[in-house]
């Protein structure tokens, strides 16, 4: 096997592994979300199917599959059908730059445990995830429904506003490391025995808030907003097409959590633990997944705790608070790096 073929096969295997993990996020989170919200609201939640209602996601999946698939008569057919598929594409692509373990030695060949070990790493993640907005806009426009169109307009404005703050917060993390590769960022945190969220606390807060807006989660779920826009951009979608949007939303959450964990919480590493080989890989992957799980729990917890923002509040927060804060953070971090403090 030539070097190129071996690398290709290794990438394929790694992508298969990550895909297998990330595709299960939505069903699991479906259960977690419903049980957690029930717990927060002091009611039992779905608890009939299987132990503690664990089989509920299966029932939901079956329901989605057998529901009638309705296309509104006046919908813009091509865009209407394309939108849910396009929602999934970026969601299942972004995680290729996330490292999930130490370098592995297989048959005398070093295999980095990241699907695509490219020099543009974080930028690639941000670029692909920024394409996610098109599916929302297409869905909202194609549905030919006023609520959906409003949802699409809101989505496009919200996503480009918060992307700025998010990108600037990420940039501040990159400055002391001097590399776009997420693997280097993890190595930097490991070498300094300090996770980035302590020196970059402001950047972390900006990233956290902006990531809620980027994933359309409460308190920033204005493109959906059940109580005012019915369901926003996916009002007209039912059955499997809605399930695709649902899947994309949770996969995006998981991918963004993975990015946040890698940037601010040491990624797949554990403090004071240095394992290598297959054991190290397994522990690394488990650590990364556990950290992502904690992040997802925070997502759920915030959703059922905070009320929704008003649209003008959302824009004011994005442009007048988060963006200046992110720029300030960037300048401070750059100055500190120049002074040699980071």
């Amino acid at each position: 096997m030539s070097a190129g073929t071996a690398d290709f096969v290794a990438s394929l295997v790694k992508y298969g592994l990550m895909f297998g993990i990330f595709i299960n996020v939505a069903p699991i989170m479906n259960w977690v979300e419903r049980r957690a919200c029930a717990y927060i609201q002091d009611r039992p939640g779905p608890n009939r199917l299987g132990p503690a209602g664990l089989f509920q996601p299966l029932a939901d999946a079956l329901k989605f599959m057998f529901k009638e698939d309705i296309t509104p008569a006046l919908a813009d057919k091509p865009l209407y059908l394309l939108a849910p598929v396009l929602a999934l594409l970026p969601a299942f692509t972004t995680f290729v730059v996330i490292p999930f373990g130490p370098d592995l030695l297989v048959n005398g060949r070093t295999v980095p445990l990241v699907v695509a070990n490219v020099a543009t790493g974080v930028l690639l993640f941000l670029a692909i995830s920024s394409l996610g907005v098109y599916s929302l806009v297409m869905a909202g426009y194609a549905s030919n429904n006023k609520f959906s169109l409003l949802g699409a307009v809101r989505a496009s404005a919200q996503l480009i506003s918060y992307e700025l703050a998010l990108t600037l917060a990420v940039l501040a993390v990159l400055i002391p490391v001097g590399s776009f590769r997420l693997g280097d960022i993890v190595a930097y945190q490991q070498a300094h025995h300090l996770w980035n969220f302590i020196p970059q606390f402001i950047g972390f807060m900006v990233f956290l808030i902006a990531s809620f807006a980027e994933t359309n989660r409460l308190p920033f779920d204005l493109p959906e907003a059940e109580s005012e826009l019915v369901a926003g951009f996916h009002t007209e979608y039912g059955a499997m097409r809605f399930a695709l949007f649902f899947q994309a939303e949770y996969t995006n959450m998981a991918a963004l959590s993975a990015l946040g964990v890698t940037l601010f919480f040491g990624g797949w590493t554990l403090p004071f633990v240095h394992l290598s080989g297959w054991l190290g890989a397994a522990v690394g992957l488990a650590t990364l997944l556990a950290k992502i799980g904690i992040c997802m729990a925070v997502f759920v917890w915030i959703r059922w705790t905070f009320p929704r923002f008003r649209y003008d509040q959302l824009m004011r927060l994005g442009w007048k608070v988060l963006l200046p804060l992110a720029i300030l953070n960037l300048i401070v971090v750059a100055a500190m790096t120049l002074a040699g403090w980071l």
Partner: protein, 200 residues
Amino acid sequence: METVIFFLFAALAIGSGIVVVTHRSPIYATLSLVLTLFSMAVLFVLLGAPFVGVLQILVYAGAIVVLFLFVIMLLNVQKEEDAHVDRGVQLWIAILGALTFLGMFWLAFWRTGLRIGGPAPAPLTEDLVSLKGLATALFTDYLLPFEIVGLLLLVAVIGATVAARRPDSETVRPDDDYVGDHVIAEDPGAGPVLPREARS
């Protein structure tokens, strides 16, 4: 392999480019521009400029074109109405102009000594692909243009904010005389309503 990728994305770029300029629905035209930009980004990566390729998607496809879509939906731009100028003449002059451009470019390329079927370029060097070389050049030799571009963006932000500002109702009223055969909205003062912050 590279040849296959090149032809695939070159065809995609030209095809979607034609859709951009011919489709009557602005939404479709904008969405196919995204496709063009994406294929161009792939070609940039092929040409040893991965950083520019990713920036192309991040800045162009991820932000600028979303802005276009936002404005199209905000203004509810419909398909073009029927022409009330002679389209034939305009079209032929446009094609003539485009062919002139094509010829000019071809002449320019010819003079740099590049030929169709010429030799493949030298293999990629690490220096061309690396971010470090790009960044060093940007912040040393091209520092002044960089600063000027920053200033330009600041001016653009301020200009856009001022231009899109909703005129105060007592100062400006739309001059309905010029609206022609268009339907005049019930409330001329009410533009597309969005909170003030959303309009930059």
